[in-house]
């Protein structure tokens, strides 16, 4: 469902992605690991269409379409979801209103009827429970005054409601204690399925104890320097990133 070929991207004058190649099929979970500054988050943002980055080369195909030609909102409506590393606050806009607008934007695209507040509520009730969140969260402003953990949980909750085809999770584990991490992982695992692709961006192997990936890729200096199965993550944990960076330079 996702084919990335020789993708190059820069932020202002700095080249960050220097030729990424990746194939992700429906039903697969891929983990992208790498040290700080290796380009992991940039890759996630470029896939979502963030305009602060300029794609300078290569191509990305998503469900057979040229992803780079699509606006961020089109990508979203076609089922691409990004769980943000730093979820954004929108004061005065209730979580419920926001999420219903998001869901209806996608439904409209698919030619489905828009959901009214009552239908929407029925639909989200069990997802709230899945993530162990309070109902009152729906009435609160989007991410405003949320703790770091609540924000991350809210991202996964949104993902559960929107049921994307391709979910990109950008450092969803950072800043979570072990209990919150388990809840988040449970949310992600509940979403795994034959139709769905998941791309996990993470610095630490820890998350991968709870969400077992099919493939692990190591990003360094804007390129994937090593790909393998889930064992690769454990190897990294043991030897550290230095091991691969040295290998990449050599």
């Amino acid at each position: 469902m996702l084919e990335i070929d020789n993708l190059h991207a820069r932020a202002e004058e700095r080249e960050i992605l220097r030729g990424i190649n990746l194939r992700l099929k429906a039903g697969e979970v891929h983990a992208i690991m790498g040290p700080n500054g290796s380009g992991k988050s940039t890759l996630a943002q470029v896939l979502a269409g963030r305009e602060t980055y300029t794609v300078t080369g290569g191509s990305v195909r998503y469900l057979g379409r040229d992803l780079l030609e699509m606006k961020p909102e089109e990508r979203a409506r076609e089922g691409l979801f990004l769980a943000f590393q730093y979820p954004v606050e929108i004061p005065g806009v209730s979580n419920m209103y926001f999420l219903r607008a998001a869901l209806n934007a996608a439904r409209k695209q698919q030619g489905l009827e828009e959901l009214d507040a009552a239908d929407f509520l029925t639909r989200v009730r069990d997802k709230i429970r899945l993530l162990g969140m309070e109902d009152s969260l729906l009435q609160r402003s989007v991410n405003e005054g949320f703790s770091g953990g609540e924000k991350k949980r809210n991202e996964i909750f949104q993902m559960a409601v929107l049921e994307p085809k391709l979910a990109v999770l950008d450092e969803t584990d950072s800043g979570l204690d072990i209990d919150a991490l388990k809840v988040v992982a449970q949310g992600v695992n509940a979403l795994r399925g034959r139709e769905r692709g998941i791309l996990l961006v993470t610095h630490y192997q820890r998350l991968l104890n709870y969400i077992i990936p099919d493939f692990v890729h190591v990003l360094s200096n804007g390129r994937i320097v090593r790909s393998g199965g889930k064992e690769l993550a454990l190897e990294l944990e043991e030897k550290g990133y230095g091991w691969l960076e040295t290998a990449a330079v050599a």
Binding site: I90, F98, A101
Partner: protein, 482 residues
């Protein structure tokens, strides 16, 4: 903000929806202002002698006054002798007695504006006074209200039918010498609404006035007076629109509110006068004096305004908190886009003991818009235990616009407390991207973020108006992100 040009083009401005002109024969007085014109206006309205005297006195005062220059707005000099001070749709005989006698063209106009007078009369619980140019053309629900002793009529009728009330309260809150524009209004005001709610009566429906400027080169000078007697309650709404024209038109209104002991007046405005085009051509100059007096103990006056129209807005709905324990509130959203300029805010004058006031002002600037909050909180020596809370937030869209805040606090009683908070923020690229990543269009994202910003004010509006206001903000902001 790094938005590609294509997106901005997609958000190209929708036309101002209310810019149409009603082709109707209109009766006007000659251009210019002198005592003859004032006598003519007074005669047309068949006013009693005291009213004419009052107008002439105001005119003499006005002649000695200078147009204020302290506001943070710029506009070419206004030629007061080139304005038509009275314009009314021509009609045979007296003012129509019922909607059946009203010119169908006028009914159609209000229908097109989304204020169908007939339906409103039949269905909704909203009574409407429709003011077209200088005259009130219809007032609905009058009989039902009269049964409760509530007077809801055009100002002209009130002058004729209830001269004792008009005489007692007219100018009691905004004297005819108050300021340049208020004096001008006092001399030439033509129509507006008059409301009196008797002792202990809770007005069972929203009362509203819909102001429409149609004639060219004319000004609108309306006067509204609302009196809530002891223990009474009334909620009043006003809406305003005007056709698109290339020249500027002057609107100088005066609104006076009087709340006696234990009475509450809630006054809501959605101001959508023609704002001018993207280059700043045309638009209404909106110079308005609005003031309420909480005359009795425990009375309350609450102003809520959503200001999205006019090329220039100069307006400070204020409260004089005279009665002990009285309460004043001011909730405002002011939006300036293109070349619009707004200088708006409030004055809270605390005179009585334990008086309380709340000010929440939300300014939104886009395009080349300039938005100024100007507020004064005054605690006089007798205002023991008085409290004020003010919050002024500004939101900027783009980098060509401006937001300015001029709060003045004057505290002359040591037990009075004043709190002021202010913030200025910009719609963040990160907020927009977050919304778009969830599938919202750029347009919907901006509208959602701005509406969130204004929420504390919108929730003060009556339901029907709140929905209207949200839509209006969305439309007014189109093309503002870049």
């Amino acid at each position: 903000m790094s938005t590609p040009a294509t997106d901005i083009e997609l958000l190209a401005n929708r036309e101002y929806q209310y810019g149409f002109i009603t082709e109707i024969e209109s009766e006007t007085v000659p251009r210019g202002l002198n005592t003859d014109i004032i006598r003519l206006i007074s005669a047309k309205k068949q006013e009693p002698e005291f009213m004419l005297e009052w107008r002439l006195r105001a005119f003499r005062q006005w002649q000695t006054m200078r147009e204020p220059e302290w506001a943070n707005v710029k506009y070419p000099p206004i030629d007061y002798q080139n304005i038509i001070y009275y314009a009314a749709p021509r009609q045979a005989g007296d003012r129509p007695k019922s909607l059946d006698e009203v010119d169908p063209k006028l009914l159609q106009t209000y229908e097109k504006l989304g204020v169908p007078l007939r339906e409103r009369e039949l269905l909704a619980g909203v009574a409407v006074d429709a003011v077209f140019d200088s005259v009130s053309v219809a007032t609905t629900f009058r009989a039902k209200l009269a049964a409760l002793g509530i007077i809801f009529s055009s100002f002209s009728e009130a002058v004729r039918e209830h001269p004792e009330l008009v005489r007692k309260y007219l100018g009691s809150v905004v004297p005819s010498s108050d300021n340049f524009f208020a004096s001008l209004n006092s001399a030439v005001f033509s129509d507006g609404s008059f409301i009196y709610v008797p002792k202990g009566v809770r007005c069972p429906m929203e009362l509203s006035t819909y102001f429409r400027i149609n004639a060219q080169d004319s000004g609108q000078f309306e006067r509204t007076l609302i009196i809530a007697d002891e223990g009474a309650y009334v909620s009043y709404l006003e809406g305003c629109t005007a056709p698109k024209r290339d020249n500027n038109q002057l609107h100088a209104a005066v609104v006076e509110l009087v709340a006696l002991e234990g009475a509450t007046i809630k006054y809501s405005t959605v101001q959508n006068w023609y704002p001018g085009d993207a280059e700043g051509r045309g638009g209404i100059y909106n110079f308005v004096t609005k003031r309420g007096k909480c005359a009795g103990r425990g009375s309350k006056i609450s102003w809520t305004q959503v200001e999205t129209g006019s090329s220039i807005t100069w307006k400070y709905p204020s409260c004089i908190l005279q009665g002990d324990d009285s309460v004043g509130e001011f909730y405002s959203v002011a939006l300036t886009h293109h070349r619009q300029q707004a200088d708006t805010g409030t004055k809270m004058i605390h005179i009585g003991r334990n008086t309380r006031s709340t000010i929440v002002s939300k300014g939104i600037s886009a395009g080349h818009g300039q938005n100024t909050y100007r507020g004064m909180v005054k605690m006089l020596p007798g205002a023991a235990g008085a409290r004020n809370y003010s919050q002024c937030d500004s939101l900027l869209l783009g980098d060509q616009c401006g937001a300015h805040t001029f709060p003045v606090l004057e505290v002359r009683n040591p037990t009075a407390r004043v709190e002021h908070e202010a913030s200025t923020s910009r719609i963040g690229e990160d907020q927009l991207f977050y919304c778009r990543q969830r599938g919202l269009s750029m347009e919907d994202a901006v509208s959602m973020i701005v509406n969130g910003f204004c929420k504390t004010v919108f929730r003060e509006l009556p339901m029907e108006f709140a929905v209207e206001a949200q839509k209006l903000l969305g439309v007014s902001l189109e093309g503002s992100v870049g």
